[in-house]
Subunit: 357 residues, 2 copies
Amino acid sequence: MWCNAAMGRAQTGTGARPPRATIIDVAREAGVSPATVSRVLTGSKPVSAEPEQRVRAAVARLGYRPNPAAQGLLRGTTSAVGVVVPDLSNPYFAEVLKGVTNAAQHADFRTLVADTGEKAGAERDAALELSRWADGIVLCSPRMSQWELTELASAVPRLVCVNRRSRGSRIPAVAVDFEAGVASICRHLRELGHRRVAYLRGPSRAWSERARQRALRTAGGPDLEIVQIPCGSSSVDGHRAADVALASGATAVMAFSDYVALGALARFDELGVAVPEEISLTGFDDIALSRLVSPRLTTVTVDKQDLGRRAWQLFIDSGADGRTGSTVEVMPELVVRGSTAAPTAAGSIEREIVHER
Amino acid sequence: MWCNAAMGRAQTGTGARPPRATIIDVAREAGVSPATVSRVLTGSKPVSAEPEQRVRAAVARLGYRPNPAAQGLLRGTTSAVGVVVPDLSNPYFAEVLKGVTNAAQHADFRTLVADTGEKAGAERDAALELSRWADGIVLCSPRMSQWELTELASAVPRLVCVNRRSRGSRIPAVAVDFEAGVASICRHLRELGHRRVAYLRGPSRAWSERARQRALRTAGGPDLEIVQIPCGSSSVDGHRAADVALASGATAVMAFSDYVALGALARFDELGVAVPEEISLTGFDDIALSRLVSPRLTTVTVDKQDLGRRAWQLFIDSGADGRTGSTVEVMPELVVRGSTAAPTAAGSIEREIVHER
DNA sequence: CTGTTAGCGCGTTCAT
DNA sequence: ATGAACGCGCTAACAG
């Protein structure tokens, strides 16, 4: 079907690209009015068989496809969704984006993407700019202030957040239950016998980090001391922070995320510190590569593509009326793998030796 | 500046989102004609100071932003670029996308993204569909046939390929010199003393795989036997193929990519096969996580974001006239890390034992 | 320097 | 069932 049109064009020459055919060209070609062409293509009104055939033939011959800008102008809608992420290099966000994109593609929507480079200041502008071209925005793990977010929500047609719930403003959101996730990790560590764990902090501006902190305040206590260590959200951050964690005298390290944990794990390996024999390590998110490292990472599973799909669903739902505030909570699940074990007295002793090299 | 506008709107109520202001609203508000507003905003013609101030004030007050669909309709251009990738979960493509997006953002362009799920059949449709909304397409590692690609290039306004050069059709492309990369890996392995290496093949439809095959034909010979093993492009493919590679009796495994190699590495670890003592392993691309596994992966570096940036540059360059055919070749560089070593006689013996468990 | 007019490509009314 | 005419929001012509 499409072959005819495209091949016909390809034959016209080397670089001569004909201007795109308009609906008028098709109408002329088919010997009907533009309105009839439109009716055939949208199916809005019935059209007799004979003219319909002529129109379809003309469409195929010319390779005609309606101009989305014109359609959008008329409809006042773009059939596009914008996705704003802090960092596409982070597999977590890449997966969420994939989830949104696939769902959107399925619904015949385009996906626009913007990368803010982990800069909180760039989020508002990116979202605002994308919103001009889209019917709404999916904002992933925004680092901006609550005030800014509320403000943004009123400036963007439809805004959905991923991993950020806001009490006051009624912004639809899908978020992992970080408290539950952190709690289950803490429980696991405590049951193994750990009494002092180092926590590698994520970006302080991230809502998910604050949620983790809430959980840590609950979980921490006399039988589980939490040592806070500033870190970040990338694997290099984890790599850097690993030494500090080691020096803290903790028997286990809880990382902000898998991505961070992988960095720490690499550093432990460089230092010759055995995981989990000398120190236990946990992640968060269960990214694909956590199953591929050695030892495999104990973490908490989150279906990141599903997060994207649900965000899309929220985006769609929020379209009909001004309904807002629907919040989806995704429950993560602890997966115990090889990176955690009971603490050994030997751990701290051997570590001294190791540091010598 | 923007605060005024957005705050003013936010105060109007809970869910009541006023329809976006048009240029006419602004004109009325400022007591001028729409043309004057346009002139102020685009700077196309000079405007007196006093009306200009009124216009700017009105714009801020109403939170007006021009409708891109209308502008696009008029200009016949979208200021958007479409990126089609086989799989966003693959860090390689996520990085390329990031490169394109950042460059595009810088030039005030939007990025549309489509994920084809590694299905060659979906590529054409995705590209065609995106091209309706964009000024052109960046096609990453297309798996489609050469014929299809040529055909597509004539149906899309501007097409740039990443990691796919095509002799016949003059499609701008930026591609890694896979032959050189594979050759340097082979040389490295041979110098270490390996005589029989298993190659974990990528998708047979991928151009980069065929390029690797060309290099292997040159590199292979009496002093370096290449055992071909069907595999794929994901880490789970590598995980699966690792057993076959082991059974081949090779002393080294050369994976299609880092992503694949990481899967194989995980499998070796599960089997208790020591890398590089019992078997050497190489990747391709140098993704971030290859530095984080143990042992760190010997591979070939490719700046993936740079690939995206260069693709963007080609996209821009191909805009002016019908200039085509410009092809950029990126030279990868061997990085020897911990996953390769000289083969040991012990390797094959110990491996027998390991298989028992 | 400014306002008025026309038209980008399309879908949808209103007539026929 | 079909065609003619209008207008979506904007800017480039053309007047004044």
